[in-house]
Symmetry: C4
Amino acid sequence: MGIQLKTLGFWQAVLAEFLGTTMLVFLGISAAIGNGNSSYPDQEVKVALAFGLAFATLVQSLGHISGAHLNPAVTLAVLVSCQISVCRALWYVSAQMLGAVLGSAIVLGVRPEAVESLDLNKVISPGQAFGMELLLTLQLVLCFLATTDKRRSDVAGSAPFGIGLSVTLAHLAGISYTGCGINPARSFGPALVSMDFENHWVFWAGPVTGGIMATVLYDFLLSPRGLDLTGRLKTLCHGVEALAVETEPLVEDTTISYLEKALNTIKRPFSVSLSCYTTYLSFSLVYST
Amino acid sequence: MGIQLKTLGFWQAVLAEFLGTTMLVFLGISAAIGNGNSSYPDQEVKVALAFGLAFATLVQSLGHISGAHLNPAVTLAVLVSCQISVCRALWYVSAQMLGAVLGSAIVLGVRPEAVESLDLNKVISPGQAFGMELLLTLQLVLCFLATTDKRRSDVAGSAPFGIGLSVTLAHLAGISYTGCGINPARSFGPALVSMDFENHWVFWAGPVTGGIMATVLYDFLLSPRGLDLTGRLKTLCHGVEALAVETEPLVEDTTISYLEKALNTIKRPFSVSLSCYTTYLSFSLVYST
Amino acid sequence: MGIQLKTLGFWQAVLAEFLGTTMLVFLGISAAIGNGNSSYPDQEVKVALAFGLAFATLVQSLGHISGAHLNPAVTLAVLVSCQISVCRALWYVSAQMLGAVLGSAIVLGVRPEAVESLDLNKVISPGQAFGMELLLTLQLVLCFLATTDKRRSDVAGSAPFGIGLSVTLAHLAGISYTGCGINPARSFGPALVSMDFENHWVFWAGPVTGGIMATVLYDFLLSPRGLDLTGRLKTLCHGVEALAVETEPLVEDTTISYLEKALNTIKRPFSVSLSCYTTYLSFSLVYST
Amino acid sequence: MGIQLKTLGFWQAVLAEFLGTTMLVFLGISAAIGNGNSSYPDQEVKVALAFGLAFATLVQSLGHISGAHLNPAVTLAVLVSCQISVCRALWYVSAQMLGAVLGSAIVLGVRPEAVESLDLNKVISPGQAFGMELLLTLQLVLCFLATTDKRRSDVAGSAPFGIGLSVTLAHLAGISYTGCGINPARSFGPALVSMDFENHWVFWAGPVTGGIMATVLYDFLLSPRGLDLTGRLKTLCHGVEALAVETEPLVEDTTISYLEKALNTIKRPFSVSLSCYTTYLSFSLVYST
């Protein structure tokens, strides 16, 4: 961890996450509250395009510096996928939260007088909203992982726009139901400056669960990664850079190899049961009405 | 066939088709029924973007796993084009139907109370609707085949978005007339959960005919494939992978070569008459009013 | 000319232009007349996206077969740029006209009863409409020539979408003023089936002039081509393919070289005066009100 | 400077900037004033798409000739980033101003009678509008610099559309508040032909400050360039081309190296304090209400 913190690149990445989330929240919420005539689908198209293009533009601008997660659910998913270290994930999430609060505060300063609260989220029933947020984030994180999958050589075209337009898609699908959170930082910022935390847990639990589910589905079932447990542990502790350098074994070799074998044995059944659970959850949603 | 079923990749592909169609139907129909103010063109733009971006995002996420057809009409067209085996096509279509039903069921659980039926399709007159669906699917499948044509080296940019935006186009053009099916699974799911099968045949016959017409036009007339009959039969029975391995001849050589010659003789006149039939069909549509 | 007509590829290209223009006109006009609530900007966004995505999708599907001009103004511009032969241009334009009529006839068959005429064009004053159509087509053809310029290596991303979205742009800018023709075939089809040719000349003169101006600007002033006169004449008579084969000189060598020198001398002043004329035209538009 | 003025390419670039800004202003403002029903979000989506696609199309068409800045704020940012010479920047800005006036004059000629003024800008309060314009331009210029950064090899997809859609984004976010200038030339043209310069300074100060801030953030903090001071001075005086040729040192060697060391010492603290200032500015916006 110490090695990472010393590098300039690490702090540039944290700054990029902070700056990016600030801009994302500022641009998206400005668009959402700017026009008072907001009951027709054209408002939803406008907001969906604003959030999607904001994400796309910022991934285009900052992707080479920090990976441009701009979303704690994405950062957690990438952590579960063992592509970044725990330390980096913590700093990223903190930067995102701070950025979202700053972005919301800026919007608070320029908002039209008629606008009381910046909170875009609404809740049909907490259970339904949780399921909706889960599925919307699942497709976003699935798209993120598949698009940035370094093993693929068939991804042509712009990755930022591929990911950004899946944010637009999530808004088109879900904005009428929950206001479309899919990003805990994006929901936390306005909630804090408006001091309105009713049902706020939904916009953390839904996206985080959806993001982790997407990772497990993609990494273990649809397109399993071959990276061994040792490598994964190294990445979690020291970052991806650590894989390149020769280091001493983290734990006693035999323990690792035993653990690894055990994990490899359970990972497929685990993923299959997870899929079944997703299906069950979906059905329970249907009958909950 | 047996060989295919044993591979992990085959079942991952079937799972991807199931998951993809579930998400496609869930995302598209959620967007379509979310806002009650649905009589202005902004609703059509919203739904067109939702279905198009859903297709694009899912092709981006799952294309390298299953090819991401997510549509029985596309699977049939690819089968007629001899690019997958019959066995794979059957499993794909089954997975798509199941996925569409699950997706519709999820939407049923979160729908606003005012929404009675999920059935988005409407029918001007069955004949006109059939022609409309045929032509809309024809352009979609033509775009799918041309974009994924491995013989081309001039396809730059993102294939998923090329195909996804042709779904958006189909909705922009046809949503006022038939609600825009162009995907039998997409029409079947809501019809089943709403138990409303009136004029349902149109949304099978139109897309399937359009898809097959597009394949014949592209594969035999506009950009004929050189793949010989033996190869095509092998692909249909054993999948594309079979072409790589050396196998014994399927049928007696002389029969094959005779059949092949016969087919080669009739394929161009056949395509030309098909084109004429399409033209005739179009005109008959005009005078049917 | 004789050689070209014998090749299969030539007729496939003509068929592609016919099919493409049919689909373009059918898809675009269906979208334009489908919804009766057509006085708000959302209708303009819908129609602009429909025409733009139709062009993009069809260029994606047919571009490798015929170049996918789908527009007589584009074909004429490419002819003036000496990239196709006169014979090919004539066949292309004929196929486009026929296709547009067929496409309009199909729409006539499925149109809602309330729609009287398919003619989307309106005319502010003929002079203003001419200037508007000229400038809208100028940007489209400039984009077409720049995007398909084989000397460039910096064109990343999808050419079909680059060109298609410039069609969308033309509609967003001009649809409130002239209905946005920018394509004589697209204007001719509906005019013929509705038998309404009032002010029809504007939708030929404007786009054709704009297209030729764009070619002259791009080919002679902004990014001059080095192709010599002999090569240009060969292309005009025998197509691009003729440049590859060794042929006898078309005219006496000394005459050619004299003519070439003369043309090279006048081409820059000519382009400059053309630019001045465009500027003058623009200003005269301003004072004509 | 003398050398540059003599080359044909230089004047072609200036012409391209003139032509591009003319078309950009003509296309964008035509779209903005064409439809009188302009109080719903669909109008904002239409205008945002028009300006964004106009920028994208023109960058696609003219980017290889002049770089297609089409915006004094972008030209200044690129100058501060030492990628063009002072002389070129001056000619570009002049061409852009002239082009914007011509474009506005053309729109004046075709405008509907009900439209009194072409001025799209509105001002909430000058301070807020300044902050809004600053932040909107900051994201545009950040995207421009990151997308055209020659050190990156990970930019796939179309650069023109990446940049163009960030213009769309700026309009979606800011059009309800300030009309979205983000381009001093775009604001100056309509202001001149309408003779309405109230609060006009905001649309110069905001974008120019935002553009310069973006450059400093990107070039010195997020992704520092290694180009030495000598090289930067050479570029500013003689253009990028001068870097290739061997020239005598501009100033006495020891002075340069001293200056360079001094600048290198202060550049990081300077950037950090700039970031702090931006943050402060944002907060002051909040409390100014």
